[in-house]
């Protein structure tokens, strides 16, 4: 065996050793440590205590798929996990058999019953974590907390600490090609948050923009990072060996056609709004008035740029596929064999 083979064997042996390597330590559940943290409750003194959240690859995938399966309906579920200093860790998630912003009392009871049953069953198969938060989907209108969400979360943070709220937009995920997700914690009532500076801008459709604006100062978002186990990494790498076919054959222009149409309608409404606002401003010509209409038009511009870019990305994929599979240079052909395909193409 040469040097490289010896090195590889030693590395493989090290990886197969009985002890858990560092990446997988997060999967260990230290009951005592968690109970100590629950006793200490460091979040009670600081409303901004939790700053980061780590989501496992599995939890993310489950939440995205569940949100997608709901179509245009909001769906919701719960997450299991633990806490580590100022970081919340989400290990797993599960769906709840109720609608997203459900406010019926019996629906709450059904959800509660399901939850206790599920967590108990999970403990029997080695999943010891407790419920650490809830997630729900906003299909097509972005990741933020609505008025109902804010009040639900405030209630949760009073009685079920530590708790986090996660929002996923499956439609924007598909249209932009990146997972659209946000994790939030609300401030207690009456708390005045220090000015955080502008958060990442996102397009909100007109019919939701008021709900967004009224409550957007009552919560803050956590930095999201993801983790996966070493086996996950290996499986994902080998998954790519087959999955590349799906990536190449996906066509975002077709999947997103409806969403894009809706965005354009929304854009036209917003443009009309800013047009009327501009008309009014022309009479006054005062500074504050202008700033508002400027913002409106600039916002519309930003939204339209985003929609356009997504369409362009989709078209790029189509053009690439066309070049790859449809445009065969007929120039070089030595063997007689290659003369046949070209005649077939012309036929």
């Amino acid at each position: 065996m040469n040097q490289s083979q010896i090195a590889q064997r030693t590395w493989e042996m090290a990886n197969n050793m009985e002890s858990v390597n560092a990446a997988d330590e997060i999967y260990q559940y230290d009951r005592k440590q968690q109970q100590d943290i629950l006793q200490a409750k460091p979040w009670e003194k600081d409303p901004h205590f939790f700053k980061q959240i780590k989501i496992s690859a599995l939890a993310l995938l489950k939440m995205v798929m569940h949100a997608r399966s709901g179509g245009t309906l909001e769906v919701m579920g719960l997450m299991l996990g633990k806490v580590d200093g100022p970081t919340m860790i989400v290990m797993d998630s599960f769906a709840l058999p109720v609608e997203g912003t459900e406010t019926r009392v019996n629906a709450q009871a059904q959800a509660y019953e399901y939850m206790t049953g599920y967590v108990e069953a999970a403990k029997q198969v080695g999943r010891q974590e407790n419920v650490i938060g809830w997630y729900h989907s906003h299909p097509g209108y972005g990741c933020w907390l609505s008025g109902i969400d804010v009040s639900t979360q405030m209630l949760n943070q009073n009685y079920q600490e530590p708790f986090v709220a996660i929002v996923i937009d499956p439609i924007r995920t598909i249209s932009s090609g990146k997972v659209n997700i946000g994790a939030f914690r609300t401030y207690p009532k009456g708390y005045k948050p220090p000015d955080e500076g502008p958060s990442e801008y996102q397009t909100i459709p007109l019919n939701k923009i008021e709900d967004f604006g009224v409550h957007c100062k009552q919560y803050y978002s956590l930095d999201i990072s993801y983790f996966k186990s070493s086996l996950d990494k290996k499986l994902l790498d080998s998954l790519w060996n087959k999955y590349w076919v799906n990536t190449l054959s996906s066509s975002s222009l077709i999947t997103n056609a409806e969403y894009m149409t809706r965005q354009i309608f929304d854009l036209s409404d917003k443009l009309e709004n800013s047009e009327t606002a501009l008309g009014r401003a022309g009479l006054f010509g005062l500074d504050p008035q202008e700033k508002k209409t400027e913002d409106k038009l600039s916002r519309v511009t930003r939204d339209s740029c985003k929609t356009t870019m997504e369409a362009l990305h989709g078209l790029m994929a189509q053009v690439v596929k066309d070049r790859l599979f449809n445009q065969i240079p007929q120039a070089q052909s030595q063997a007689q064999e290659s003369a046949q395909p070209s005649s077939q193409a012309q036929a």
């Binding site: 090609g177 080998s238 799906n246 190449l248 066509s251 600039s298 511009t301 362009l312």
Partner: protein, 392 residues
């Protein structure tokens, strides 16, 4: 006033939107479908080619049984030959004879694979050493096609060295998942480990009590090769030495596509510390396409190399594979009819129209701001005089 005129675009916007919505998408769907089946054909042929090349190369290890070819059943005839050497650990084969083709087609969601991986990792982290895990598979079955969509853990007891599934636990879980995934049924079970053996058959028989013909998925977390270490089997009753015994037949499976799942899997697969702020949005978007095309190119190169090698006589002439390669090349170009061209250009035009509108909106915005500032500058002087006139 000139700025206000440009706002006639809203009507134009909604008009174009309606046109786009009624866009003819048939040709595009056809193009996409053929390009995907094209890529699949490339994939399957290259797997066969690489399998054969591995046999010839003396230093490479024995090819693993074709666990991971995403191919149609015609290829299983070629690959099935390598199945015959599978022997279980403690004597006695549990695999049916080579060449037996499965009765159902299976598509597997990547979520299930991650579920099993997490289950195994969690148990290992808590026990301190690798343990075999057991669970159930749920999904949908239509006719002879099975789609495995989700999975959950099963509780079991060990009695006398044999694993007995806890039925009560399963009933509780069944009630739960029926509430959330009402259209999914139990499809089979999964476990971890190397090649299947008699203990697996015992568990399989227990699952047969719950379901007519369950499928059995085995994931090998310690696999060394780079192919997906997941195999799916179903059971058949065969006559071995005169007695009807249950044997396992390996099934070919494909990976199910769902756009959101693909993006999620892509995201978790490539998430290292993201400092993509510097790179452009275009580059980010094209990264996924680029990786996929790189794979396609490597597979095509492999096929070309194989053909050249058999031409030179280094590899034995395999007519089946060469026929497939020939069929592959004859399928190019995939779609080149006039109708397709027409629709494709329509689509290009629509997107160009959208970008045109986007650019116009941007121009309007810039113009508006410019005019406002201009007015402000000039009115300031006039306003200042007026204000002074008011107060003094």
């Amino acid at each position: 006033a000139g700025v206000l005129q440009a706002f006639s675009t809203p009507e134009y916007n909604s008009m174009s939107a309606k046109d786009m919505a009624s866009m003819e998408v048939d040709e595009d769907v056809a193009a996409e479908a053929t390009s995907s089946s094209q890529s699949l054909a490339v994939e399957s042929t290259s797997q066969a080619a690489s399998g054969i090349i591995n046999v010839v190369a003396p230093t490479s290890p024995l090819p693993q049984p074709a666990q991971s070819s995403a191919s149609s059943s015609s290829l299983s005839v070629v690959a099935g030959g390598s199945n015959s050497e599978v022997v279980s650990g403690d004597g006695g084969t549990v695999m049916a004879s080579a060449g037996t083709v499965g009765s159902v087609s299976v598509s597997l969601h990547p979520l299930v694979i991650l579920n099993i991986s997490e289950h195994w990792t969690r148990q290992r982290a808590q026990e301190g050493k690798p343990v075999q895990v057991l669970g159930a598979l749920i999904g949908k079955q239509t006719g002879r096609h099975i789609e495995i969509m989700n999975s959950f853990e099963l509780s079991y007891d060990e009695l006398g060295g044999h694993i007995i599934i806890n039925r009560d636990y399963y009933t509780v879980k069944e009630e739960q998942y029926k509430q959330v995934f009402s259209d999914m049924d139990l499809l089979g079970w999964y476990t971890t480990g190397d090649t299947p053996g008699p203990p697996d058959l015992l568990i399989h028989k227990q699952v047969c009590d719950l379901l007519d013909s369950p499928v059995f998925l085995k994931l090998n977390p310690m696999a060394r090769h780079t192919d997906l270490p997941v195999s799916i089997f179903e059971s058949v009753l065969d006559l071995v030495n005169g007695a009807p015994t249950m044997l396992l037949v390996e099934l070919q499976y494909t990976l199910a596509t769902e756009e959101a799942e693909r993006i999620g899997v892509d995201h978790v697969a490539r998430m290292s510390s993201h400092d993509t702020q510097e790179s452009s949005l275009v580059a980010e978007n094209l990264q996924a396409q680029y990786s996929a095309i790189k794979m396609l190119a490597s597979r095509v190169r492999l096929i070309a190399e194989y053909v050249r090698a058999s031409q030179r006589g280094e590899v034995e002439f395999n007519h089946e594979i060469l026929r497939q390669v020939n069929a592959l090349t004859h399928r190019l170009p995939v779609l080149s009819s006039d109708k397709f061209r027409g629709e494709f250009y329509n689509q290009c035009n629509d997107v160009a129209l959208m970008s045109y509108l986007g650019t116009i909106t941007k121009c309007c915005n810039t113009m508006n701001r410019f005019i406002n500032r201009f007015n402000l500058l000039h009115e300031r002087l006039a306003m200042g005089r007026r204000m002074r006139g008011l107060f003094f």
